[in-house]
Amino acid sequence: MNGVHRSSSWHRRRRDALAGFAFTAPAMLHTLVFMLVPAGAALYFSFTEWDMISPAHWVGLRNYQEILFDSDLYPDFWKSVRVTALYALLSVPASLVTGFVQAYLIDLLRRGQSLYRLVFYLPVITAEAAVAAIWKWLYDPQFGLINAGLEVLGGTGPDWLGTPGVVIPALALIAAWQSGTAMLIFLAGLKGIPRTYYEAAEVDGANRWQQLGRITLPLLRPTTFYLVVTGVIAALQVFGIVYVLFGGNAGPERSGLSYVLHLYLFGYRNGAMGAASAMSVLLFVTVLLVTAAQFRLVPQQYEE
């Protein structure tokens, strides 16, 4: 009796396991073939000198050593680190603020929420090349709309994409404009805050600002934390917009040389795929450390 029972449940479990494998197989295979294997290969090639067209040969830690410490061979490596750090520092808060403001205002609307959601999300789904083309025009030092607007207000705008010190803020502004994803997630977060809290606050005589500061923002902490973590990860890997805006030249005095653009140029243009692989491993480790640090330092939950 007991034995029969055990064997049938064992069968069922085995069948479940098989079905489970069948369902997850495509995703697992995808992860294995397109992510884990290439990542493993990149780790291997990071210890080699390799130009993709001749056999790789083992050089041990030399790539890492030269990338980090030899500013003759890699004169712009640390510059690309600084550029990327500054970009993350500016673009993540900027897109969080615009995303939140958009979500907050949309949440106040009684009708037409879905229309505004769509409109503010459009920049995210617009092709990177089109985004770059639009902003190139907006930022044009002679005919750009932004500087024309500043002139009407009595000021003179900088040569946005032509002045080294202004390039990263200009890129952060584009990121702020493309904050549709943050907007959507904040909006979902806002919907998750029970109305009763606000009603109670109103009864207690709290005004809008007090409600925002005491209820909305604290209760959005998990949402904000999620957006900060994913935003920083994405910002550290920024590539598309700088590549389309500046190409391999990376902007005036290479002020738009993001880490991944630098890596890409070494791998695909300079024929130093081994060094590029080492850079990608360094980036991976950095992202891991930065994310771990955020889990420790950034508040994730609302605490009384």
Binding site: L18, F21, A22, A25, L29, D51, M52, I53, S54, D70, D72, L73, Y74, P75, D76, K136, W137, D140, P141, Q142, F143, D159, L161, G162, G247, G248, N249, A250, P252, E253, R254, L265, F266, Y268, R269, N270, G271, A272
Partner: protein, 404 residues
Amino acid sequence: MRALARWVAATAAVVSLAASAACGGDSPANEKVVEFWYYQPIPEQSKQVKELVKRFEETEPTITVRLTEIPKDDYNTKLSSALGGGRGPDAGYLDQPLMARYANAGQLAEVPAGTITESDFYDGALRTNKISGKLCGIPLQQTTVALFYNKKLVSTPPATWNELVAESARVHWENPNLAGVNVPKGEGFGAWLFPAFVASAGGTMLDEGSRRIAFADPPAQEALALWRKLLESSPRRITNSENSFHKGLTAMMFSGPWEVLTIRQQFPQLDFGVAPLPRKDVAASNIGGDNGVVFSKARNPDAAWKWLRFLSDATHNAEFSNITGNFPTNRKAAQAAKINTDPALKVFVDQLETAQARPTVPEWIQINDEYLAKAIEEGVDGGRSPADALTDAAARARKLLGWQ
């Protein structure tokens, strides 16, 4: 687990089936297929290249040329991945500065003796195919850079460096909202153009024979000082505007023949002329362009060479360059091409006679983009002395090349 294994096997079977279909083993046994990769042209050009292929196939009935068009920016990425994976084409374009890297990796077949007559070709273009004395490709098309000037602002184009500086200053002085010259920046293009000015001052970039870096010598310093001087009368605020020359905001620029076609199509109101690059001591220019190569693992190398010979011969090389908007590499073709009847384009043809081939070390792209471009940026826009900036770049290049 077994289900997973079976699933893997089935997927693998489907994938390999799809792959073999894509590569096509379907042609008759006596027919030879040449898989040829080249840059993605505009649709009109693409049609004309296909016409050219058809004519080639009529003369060589046993050969089929299969064209694959790839965006230029992705070409090297795709090609090196394909060759690395053992699935490369038989033949294709190769950008001049990439020749050394592919040749040293053993990916290029040597041109069989008797395929072409070397003296038929422009020397500068031919030399880009010589790697360690071996001919590794056939020059197909070439290009160079000249001086464009706005006829409303500049009546006589400057012929010397001194005249260039004076003319640029005059334009900017008469109207501060105009820039004299679109001064090249420290980036790929500027570093590509730089050797022309160095050569004009009597210098070179590298001496490969004696393994010596020459681009920090006085001629290069003078060239860099010239660009820096030009910047005084050519504010970036004006020249950084998109197409500032085309819109009449900048009086002069250095650019290639592709710009002639762009201006005529998109800025027909601009009255412009083209003149040779201003010189210091000797006339000199730079060169760019594409060679036709056959890869060492090609399945039909003989047929591939026939196709490349066809593209580079006296009649078809002219047609080919007319299609792509570049210049013939074959001297006889250059006489026949329609560029000769066009005074603006004729300047480029004449200038190709003084074109300086790039150094053929495989690391040249890295030296050009990472070190030389940086020196130009520091020396022109950054306010460092040309001598210091170039000396640093030379030290870096020396280290990379191991030429201690």
